[in-house]
Symmetry: none
Subunit: 420 residues, 2 copies
């Protein structure tokens, strides 16, 4: 398998002032083409250090792909560093100069002398034209066949250059057939270590496709990666593994690939022809936000009430104030009443509710910060409740409670479907 | 100046499946402490390669800081690699084991053998406790004084460990005096280029502190960075610049540092002793979520209604259905009625409402995707409306509309305050 190292250039990356999204983007495109990314680096705007990073990267990989440092200013030094490493000289590339001149004319802005520098390219370079800016990219090769490819750091200039110019060059260079195709299974209500326990033998045994487990806040993904000459051939490798994983993780897989938990809930609601209403206390609007992030969600989401004050729980949702006094606002009784109330009030078939203590204040003996109750009101007017305890800061409690509530509802919808 | 290299561990980073936000975060914190980040790398879950990356990084820098690869699964290999590089053996660290056991007990989940692996730490390690998860971090030092520090990759576990455990260790280790202290002014309702225009001379003239402008979705930050031996000394440098910026950007600065726009709104509401109720259509719960992200928000946030269906606008908020028919649900008339309705229904002093077309569907001639109306209902029972047009995908429209609505309310509260 051909391999590259990625080198991102820019002192702002080392100061944490700019989040490098280019590396992940280029890495994902490389993986999809069947090119192994051996490693990635970020290095500052320093000619010696850039050269050292490129030279070190060339030791392990067949080539290096850089982003950034091709601008017109004195601290744009990638080109100079590449020339240092490969013993090349830069010379004026007339077509690039004309392209830059044309761009300035089009923008009706005066072209400065330092933009002329951008048309200086290493002698013998294969030029990667940049229709979206003044920084041309290029590829240069060493006698042993190893290469350095350089692209600008501005994402909207880099991305088309990668797709239209560099990837075709790489395919040609490596005579590539195989690419890595990925499919992801999304799970809920099961821990990373429990998944690991259930699939450890597959993890060890499988070579193509490979599998990997990724933990997120309150849920986990299992990734299946197949190397094959086409998506269809990859799918043929992936499908039996997906089925096997589905059996081992039965009852926990809510979707695949671009599917979200909220999207899966919408799918089940639409299949039942039912609409959901949501009452949120501790999650403060996050469940509604997740549900309305799904395009077309209006078909199965009626609306919600963020019942933050107890008086809102009583007046808008019709929760019995005596229950709040007797059991506390954070109780399974109130969660049930909120779910029933919002269902009735908004004229929906189903209700979902949360009440809990997000913190940092509000914890009491027996009811610590992170305690959350979830209520699900069914079409028959009955409610069930569920309990969660989260350790963590306010944001973590709110996020985990949101995922937990959607996960509980998803499981409930699924159980009804199976018992129907 | 002491230097470190950062090494992020995880095959998913090399496949572009996960965007590495840890490296930029750690880099920013290092810069703020006056520690030079010499370079950064990402490497896959491969024991030999992780070890090679750490060994190579140690050649240039005084130390290496890794994130990721401390989990319980067989592909979590950072610890093993560090032991390889430094010739150390792992041994059971009893306090970490007890912490992990306590965590599982609290979560009422069975602890598996692979979690026990997480309590195996390199002999002689300085342990970085993890109160938010099962992966303990640690620092080990070589005979020549160079060190390797390892932290988990889960951001909400890594960040507190960095602040509370690793940074104090680094300060001590390097006997550091000068650090870069940063203060940020947050602005709203003003463009990046307008800010640039107003402060360009300061930007060019200032050396310590330096300033920088950062654009976010719908709002901008101005960062003031001072190099000084203490926070107090830095503050003496920062304060006059902050005052000057405040004058030049008068009416647009809603807060500083950790202050959020929602937090600033809460502050003004509390000062007036008023409570807010929110009715959301196109923003689908995002305004409520932003407001409830602020600890103690219950003092000035009564609650909200996510009125997604038109029938909910009518039945729960009391919007006149004839107005919906005549002007459409996305209209300034309905925005005003929603704001008035939610204020009245929830018994709050003020009301805020959004109605708009988030897309991708739903646009009509004269009312394109991205059109949003915001209504603000005042304590005197009158409403004002505001209009926004956003170009972008559903998520962008929802986020921009949320910021716009909070910005409109903030300005209104501020105007009332100044006219009082």
């Amino acid at each position: 398998m051909p391999s590259v190292e990625l080198v991102a250039v820019g002192t702002e990356l080392l100061l944490g002032q700019l989040l490098d999204t280019n590396t992940a983007y280029v890495a994902e495109r490389m993986a999809a083409c069947g090119i192994d990314v051996y490693g990635t680096r970020a290095v500052g705007d320093n000619r010696t250090r850039i050269a050292a990073a490129i030279a070190a990267a060339l030791e392990h990989a067949d080539g290096v792909v850089t982003t950034g440092g091709l601008g017109p200013t004195v601290d744009d030094l990638t080109k100079e560093s590449v020339c240092d490493v490969l013993g090349l000289r830069a010379e004026l590339h007339e077509p690039s100069l004309r392209a830059i001149e044309a761009l300035f004319e089009q923008l009706r802005r005066p072209m400065r002398e330092n933009n002329r520098k951008q048309a200086m390219l290493p002698r013998g370079a294969y030029v990667l034209e940049n229709p979206n800016g003044t920084a041309a990219g290029f590829v240069v090769s060493r006698a042993d066949g190893k290469f350095v490819a350089c692209m600008p750091g501005v994402p909207h200039e880099m991305k088309p250059m990668l797709a239209d110019r560099l990837l075709p060059w790489l395919r040609e260079r490596f005579g590539m057939r195989d690419a890595i195709h990925t499919s992801v299974l999304h799970t809920i209500n099961i821990s990373e270590s429990e998944i690991d326990h259930r699939i450890d033998d597959l993890f060890r045994a499988l070579e193509n496709p490979k599998i990997a487990v990724l933990a997120h806040t309150g849920r986990c993904d299992v990734k299946i990666m197949a190397k094959a000459p086409s998506r269809a051939a990859a799918e043929a490798l992936i499908e039996p593994v997906r089925r096997e994983l589905g059996e081992r993780l039965a009852g926990h897989v809510f979707g695949a690939d671009a599917q979200t938990l909220a999207g899966a809930v919408h799918g089940l609601l639409q299949a039942r022809g039912q609409r959901l209403a949501v009452a949120e206390s501790c999650t403060g609007g996050r469940i509604c936000a997740a549900l309305t992030a799904v395009p077309g969600s209006s078909a199965s989401f009626a609306g919600g009430v963020v019942a933050y004050e107890n008086s809102v729980k009583a007046t808008v949702l019709g929760v019995d104030e005596r229950n709040i006094e007797r059991h506390g606002a954070v109780s399974s009784e109130v969660a049930a009443e909120m779910a029933l109330g919002v269902r009735r009030r908004l004229g929906a078939e189903l209700g979902l509710a949360t009440t809990g203590i997000a913190g940092p204040g509000g914890g009491v003996p027996g009811k610590p910060v992170g305690l959350v109750f979830v209520g699900v009101a069914a079409a028959d007017g009955r409610a069930r409740t569920f309990q969660l305890e989260v350790r963590g800061q306010r944001e973590v409690v709110q996020d985990r409670a949101t995922t937990f509530a959607l996960g509980v509802l998803w499981k409930q919808l699924r159980d009804w479907e199976q018992n129907a």
